[in-house]
Amino acid sequence: MRTNYRVHSGVNFRMFSQDQLEELLLGVLHVLEYTGLEVHHEESRDILKKAGAWVDGKRVRLPSYMVKRSLEMAPRSFTLFARDGDRKHDIHIGPGRAHFGPGPTCPNFIDVETLERRPYVKSDVPLVAKVVDALPNIDFCESLGTVGDVHYDLGALYEFAGMFPNTSKPIVAWSYDQFDSAGIHKIAVTEAGGQEAFEKRPNYVHYCEPLSPLVSTFEALDKLVFAARNRIPLVFTPCPIAGGTAPVTAAGIITQAAAESWMGLTVAQAIQPGLPFIMGGVLSVMDMNSMILAYGAPELPLMMAGLTELAHYAGLPLWQTGGCTDSKTFDEQAIIEGSLSVYFSALTGGDLTHDVGYTESAMTGSVFQLAAMDEAIGYARRITRGIEVNEDTLAVDVIHHVGPNGHYLREPHTRRYYKTEFWYPNLCDRRNFEEWDMMGRTTMKDRAIARVQDILAAHQPSPLKPETEKVIREVLEEAEDRVKQDAWQNRPRAE
């Protein structure tokens, strides 16, 4: 029996003090109240105005009580469910839990056969989803690409239609507009067993992206309104670039990104109080020489850690970023940048960490980078799990029993713990030189490729319900018909 005993479970990581967090929070509220955002969506402006916002043309400013109330309404903890009821694939969002998955919309892909970079196509989607389904440390699915070989307005629909049957892990669904969103939702709801069943056990998250600096775009809000009305958990994530579309300082970009995301939060909570809302922001620097948004810069994990702490302080989960690289190939740079950022994401407990498997600064998706990062995440998770201290793990009795000159290999204590205390690598090689030599002197890259190819040859994701298969075909047919109509093609897309 222990009394007044304090336990640190896992590794403690904290960047900001309470005072710093409060200062950041007040900075965000100040921006929303005194500067405001341009909101390019009439319905959202009306909703905000009714809820107490000051609307002046397209410029919307939010009194801070409105934002605070929205923060309070949004839940910190909720569950995203595996579509097939496999509890191992559920994601419990809450304090101290970091989850990982790929990102969306890379124009290019590393071909799994030729290993060459080429445009991303429809047939890549099921492969990515299968690899996600099989990798033990990848928790949710995105496709790592924009489907380029279908009608240009239907990429997102084909993407979801390709992912959903090939993984039961929750999907984060990106889309172009509310038409895509409606098709995606129809598919997911069918599998869940109806809208009510979906609301109880949501099996996907809806992804919206506003524009920096300080613009809530028409598409982002149109999709948000759809998601909020249908009670679909929501990611609302800007992508500001420090020094370009956001202040150059880390504190400045964090403040701006939070303001951009919380405009979405406020609209969403006004429509659907209590809607699970995942605060966003992919934050990094504009490389002042190459002019790219750097996905491998140390400032990315650093700024993301800051944004994560602010989100958690405000009571929201965060759409974290990690496992990505600026490298063009599977090399040392890719592994350094990817591994350090996933380790940092794990330390911060960033709730859904995406963009795992991005290479070439988000221009090319790679399942090989994804597989290597699965290993890095496993490694990071072992560290962040920390050291358990109790009478049994302290092992004073075992030490006494074995005594000087003994060994621990035969001890029940060893048998009891060796599987949980130790992490076992899938890709890292620990054999001695002779064995490594005999086994063909493989590199990390060779083993990552072999792992992906093994998964693609052998892994069987759990099947969809037959009625969902049917709905997928119908949704795609309807969409193909829709895009042929001139009236739809010429619809108003923005304000």
Binding site: D153, V215, N289, R493
Partner: protein, 213 residues
Amino acid sequence: MSEILEQISTVVIEGDLDEIVDLTEDALDDGLTAQEILDSALMAGMDHVGVEFKAGNMFVPEVLRSARTMQMAMDILKPLLAESGVEMVGKVLLGTVKGDLHDIGKNLVGMMCEGAGFEVKDIGKDVAPEAFIEAIKDFEPDIVGMSALLTTTMRVMEHTIKALEEAGLRDRVKVMIGGAPVTQAFADQIGADGYASNAASAADLAKRFAGAA
């Protein structure tokens, strides 16, 4: 080179906004022509900046500051150059196409082109094909630059090029395009004259089109 031309060149490289106006006026008072100041001081300075940038010794904010410095001198020299019938390197019209609000890359291209000595008109973002046509008629550029970030708006570049053809303006301008998902293959496919993968190479491409490099 005269001492004052060298000073102006240095001030451009250093991006010294406080010195450039006085020095340019002094140079004119000394009897140097606008053409001499442009070629031997301003462009010489910007050429040096370009080399240093490519070598990784100068960074975007410094390059933009140098370009701004040069523009302040150009404000003084432009009327004089026009009087003596001297042509600028060329005129560049820029816009982000209809439906797209992402314009940080296009803004960078504008600043880089100014630094390369072009007269730049930026007609903003979400620019409809008709607005490009209006602006071409009005501004008479040598080069039209279009940008898009989204795969959905990329194809509006093609519509815009078609609209230029229909308006009979296509042969009067060189069209260059850029933006994250844009490639050389896409540029070839839609009949653009050129593609650049970043702002610095866009300025180089504009110079090639203008016959200045």
